[in-house]
């Protein structure tokens, strides 16, 4: 089956929904969102806790609540079509972009588009990727997979739980499993600091008397058919287990919350350049990837912690994809690299393209390498400070946004460096 659209959006989560809405608002007339799940909303549908949308809607909504705001908006926009239960198999560059997708009703679809927006989100890091030794019994799964089963399908993966990883997903699932009547025995975190919001440490661990063991790792998983216990130990500065600190925790379920990785199958398949550290496509301030006409936004570019920023990014991608589709996206002569400097791990976008048709501030999104207090983030061109922002508290788990006026960005000789200046004590 051959189909034709102006813009095809791969993934109907918050990034894709925001991108579609923005593309329509910016003049695109035939937009298709392709979603592999049975409904739109992406990962938000299983994030039943609240805390979403404070910036966008000035309310604290649940994940499904936030998703449904956008789903209702998109529903009301006739230029946007939606295909559910549909998997994109490949995307290809060219004068016309090609998307090959399949579903049970239509079989194989060859969909041509003027522009593609990639909003596939991310997947969870696995046990295998971090090489936890031991057996491979039932009862070991990633926190997100457990969240789906508990919150959407109605089953529980165990009743005596240990959680590895104190990022927000792990903390949220600690509370969720407790509310479902399970006993969560401990949360183990490799780093000497928790990766989650303080609010979640209080409301998900302290409220339920769940001990948090920082600087700990799991040294062995036990159990032949089902997990019986884990062995854990404290680690040193090089993350090596310290002999003599080992202890066991009996359990029948281990939830892993050990990191998220952008879904880059389709990107690598189309030879879209990826960033080494984020593992997502390299993008400019318009969220265009290294292939003109292919845009990306949301967790597929870099893992976010605030869905409001995801929607913002989606809106940027949608706007410029619409421009591109209408032939109004001008080229660029110069691309200025944006690089992380002192104490900054990643910055997105990684390039600023100097284009005539673009004239709005560039918002740089970054993460620090470790928790710090009383810092100033500086955006510099060599010695010249282009923009700066003070943060009383900075944590790696909380993305920082700094706005850079476009003319200042364009006048930079490059590369632009983003660094932390700690207050001189």
């Amino acid at each position: 089956m051959n189909l034709n659209y102006e813009i095809v959006i791969v993934g109907g989560g918050p990034a894709g929904l925001a991108a579609a809405k923005s593309a329509a608002e910016n003049g695109a007339n035939k937009i298709l969102i392709i979603e592999r799940d049975r409904e739109m909303g992406g990962i938000l549908q299983q994030c039943i806790h609240n805390g979403f949308g404070l910036h966008t809607f000035k309310e604290e909504l649940t994940g499904p609540g936030y998703a449904h705001r956008y789903i209702k908006m998109v529903d009301g926009i006739p230029q946007i079509e939606v295909m559910l239960d549909t998997m994109v198999l490949s995307i290809a560059d060219g004068d016309k972009k090609m998307v090959v997708a399949c579903n049970p009703q239509n079989g194989i679809m060859q969909i041509s588009a003027n522009a593609i927006i990639l909003t596939m989100g991310c997947r969870e890091r696995t046990r295998g990727a971090i090489r936890i030794p031991g057996t491979r019994p039932a009862g070991v799964l990633t926190a997100g997979a457990a969240q789906r089963m508990v919150n959407m399908e109605g089953y529980i993966p165990g009743k005596n739980v240990v959680i590895l990883g104190s990022g927000d997903i792990g903390l949220i699932m600690a509370r969720r499993m407790s509310l479902e009547g399970a006993k969560v025995h401990a949360c183990l975190e490799l780093m000497p600091f928790s990766n989650g919001l303080t609010r979640n440490i209080v409301q998900c661990l302290e409220d339920y008397d769940i001990p948090l063991h920082l600087s700990h790792t799991i040294t062995k998983i036990h159990g032949v058919e089902r997990i019986e216990k884990i062995s854990c130990a404290q680690v040193d500065e090089s993350f090596r287990p310290i002999p003599g600190t080992e202890f066991d925790i009996p359990c029948d379920c281990l939830l892993l919350s050990v990191g998220l990785i952008p879904e880059n199958e389709l990107s690598t398949g189309a030879a879209i350049p990826l960033h080494r550290l984020t593992n997502g496509p390299l993008v400019d301030q318009c969220r265009e990837t290294g292939l003109p006409g292919i845009f990306a936004a949301g967790n597929v570019v870099h893992v976010h912690d605030l869905v409001d920023f995801v929607s913002e990014e989606g809106a940027i991608a949608g706007k410029y994809a619409a421009k591109y589709s209408a032939g109004q996206m001008c080229g660029f002569d110069r691309a200025i690299a944006v690089e992380p400097g002192n104490a900054i791990r990643t910055v997105v976008p990684q390039t600023i393209t100097v284009r005539e048709c673009v004239n709005e501030p560039v918002k740089l999104f970054m993460r620090v390498t470790q928790p710090m207090v009383k810092i100033t983030v500086e955006v510099c061109d060599g010695d010249i400070v282009l923009a700066s922002k003070k943060e009383a508290v900075a944590k790696p788990s909380e993305m920082i946004a700094v706005s850079l006026p476009y003319d200042k960005a364009c006048s930079a000789r490059g590369p632009i460096t983003v660094s932390v200046k700690e207050e001189v004590k």
Partner: protein, 129 residues
């Protein structure tokens, strides 16, 4: 001698660490809460006092759905519940089944456990196709 307790404020991302002093009343409840240090703003001070005397939490969980497009419906408390009652409320809701269709905001459980808080649907839920 008053008791003391250290706690993290969770009102804003600063997460100030502070210390409060308090007494136990005749009924075992906490009284005479005073902020000794930390909590750099009034919201924080108010949070500290409330958290010591009458801590509250929002509850989000799921209820079962009959004849729905999906087997579970996510629900949220309209306002915060007393912290000590959250678990009981969650366990109570684990036994509730609601009939589809359901509209976002629809009351699923009125005045849960007599606490004066309603539990509402977090999303629409259509009937099974």
């Amino acid at each position: 001698m008053k008791q003391t307790k250290k706690m993290n404020c969770i009102v804003c991302p600063l997460g100030c660490l502070g210390e409060v002093s308090f007494n136990y009343g005749n009924d075992g409840g906490v009284i005479d809460v005073e902020v000794m240090s930390g909590f750099s703003c009034p919201r924080g001070k108010n949070y500290a006092i409330k958290e010591m005397t009458n801590p509250e939490r929002m509850l989000t969980t799921t209820v079962r759905v009959e004849n729905g497009a999906l087997p579970l419906l996510p629900v949220v408390s309209k306002t915060a519940l007393p912290k000590g009652k959250v678990m009981a409320a969650a366990r109570y809701l684990a036994g509730i089944t609601i009939k589809a269709p359901v509209a976002e905001g629809q009351v699923i459980c009125l005045n849960i456990l007599g606490l004066g808080v309603d539990i509402i649907a977090s999303r629409d839920m259509n009937t099974h196709a």
